[in-house]
Symmetry: C2
Subunit: 213 residues, 2 copies
DNA sequence: ACCTCGTTGTGAACGGCGTTCACATTAGTG
DNA sequence: CACTAATGTGAACGCCGTTCACAACGAGGT
């Protein structure tokens, strides 16, 4: 923790901790390499012993944050009243979406860090992006959709692309409400609209009207 | 155009032109004030005679770009086969969404410029954000939803928030496909999924299942 | 105990950025 | 024609990310 003179105990971890704090407080823009080095009381160049570049540091922070998102989803799923078949599947899918959104509102800085410039699908299955449940956020979505399919609410023909459909709606709403034009919505309207977004996703997925016979 | 010695003919316009070119080529990150000044062959400080800050320059560029988006939507609407009532209304709403998406794919750099850090709803009605039709992109969406309501496909109770619902889905899909994890989708799947997104929005809006009696 | 060697942190420097300010140049106006 | 307001210049400030030669340390072998 405290540095033993010249050497820092665990600089890599300390930088990541400071990074999470900074992003939480003021978003991903505030993540300056020099600033983090200052917080940890180390020369800027020391950072390069643990990360190849600022970008790579940010990537590590993104993975950490994705784990938190996964936990938020898991919490929301745990709160779904037990049910069977289609009702349960709908509940889980909704919980995944609401978990995503509630995390975004509770931790806007971290949310932006995780999803604003989160460019690759690699992280969707990166071990470092897993939460306590052992799943990444993307895997939670996949699982919810599997459940939906098993419950007979989603046809096999409509399954491909279902992740994109659901993610689009929820992610778009998150963007608009966290950072965008709808960011000054009060919590009530926000939650009400979120429920409509989730309902829209459900309808879009269960419509089962493929354009091929 | 060419500068008459000391003075530049129309520096403000020249900077905006250069800014659009730069953003088109390499996204909004590449918009450095000094770089634009270099292109226009002027000292960096000269920029401050026309814009209070880099941020304000970018804002002006955003408005310009929104006008182009409005035009793209208008083009798409013009291509909708003429019909009446609900069919026509559905067609217009779809065209607005598809116009948004096609613009995003055709001009990814400009799209990001316009919608990535586009923080206020003010620009939704800013005169400088209007296209040739005299409407901003947001106003096009409003109009499409009005049409939908007039056609009886959208209840008055569901009208508030309809903009947010539609925008969320389309914007989220645009983000994922332009910059995000789905950016390497081929054009075919992209268009196919876009149609499903639009269909999802339609279903979500026309569901007419308010939670209050 | 000593010496080596790889690891980790330092300090100074480079070029780039946005921004400021005193100053130079010009176009219009009275 | 002189004055003034508008417009462009040049140098400077403090920030940023990154690089590199160098210093301090821990561990392992002799």
């Amino acid at each position: 923790m405290a540095r033993s003179g010249y050497f820092h105990g665990d600089l890599r971890r300390a930088l990541l901790d400071a990074g999470v704090d900074a992003a939480r407080a003021s978003g991903p823009e505030a993540l300056s390499l020099r600033e983090l080095a200052r917080i940890v009381e180390v020369a800027p160049s020391a950072v390069y012993r643990h990360f190849e570049s600022r970008e790579q540091l940010v990537s590590a922070l993104v993975l950490r944050t994705l784990g938190m998102v996964a936990d938020a989803m898991e919490d929301e799923i745990a709160a779904v009243p037990p049910a069977e078949g289609r009702t349960w599947a709908d509940g889980v899918l909704g919980a995944v979406g609401i978990g995503y959104l509630r995390f975004a509102w509770r931790e806007p800085g971290l949310f932006q860090l995780a999803f604003r410039a989160h460019r690759d699908l690699d992280s969707a299955h990166d071990p470092d992006a897993r939460g306590a449940s052992g799943r990444t956020p993307y895997e939670q979505l996949e699982r919810a959709l599997d459940t939906l399919q098993d419950a007979g609410a989603l046809s096999a023909a409509d399954r491909p692309g279902a992740e994109a459909l659901a993610w689009s709606a929820v992610h778009g709403f998150a963007m608009l409400t966290v950072d965008g034009p709808l960011r000054s919505l009060d919590e009530g309207s926000r939650e009400h609209l979120a429920a409509r977004v989730v309902e829209m996703v459900r309808l879009g997925l269960e419509a089962a009207k493929p354009d091929a016979p």
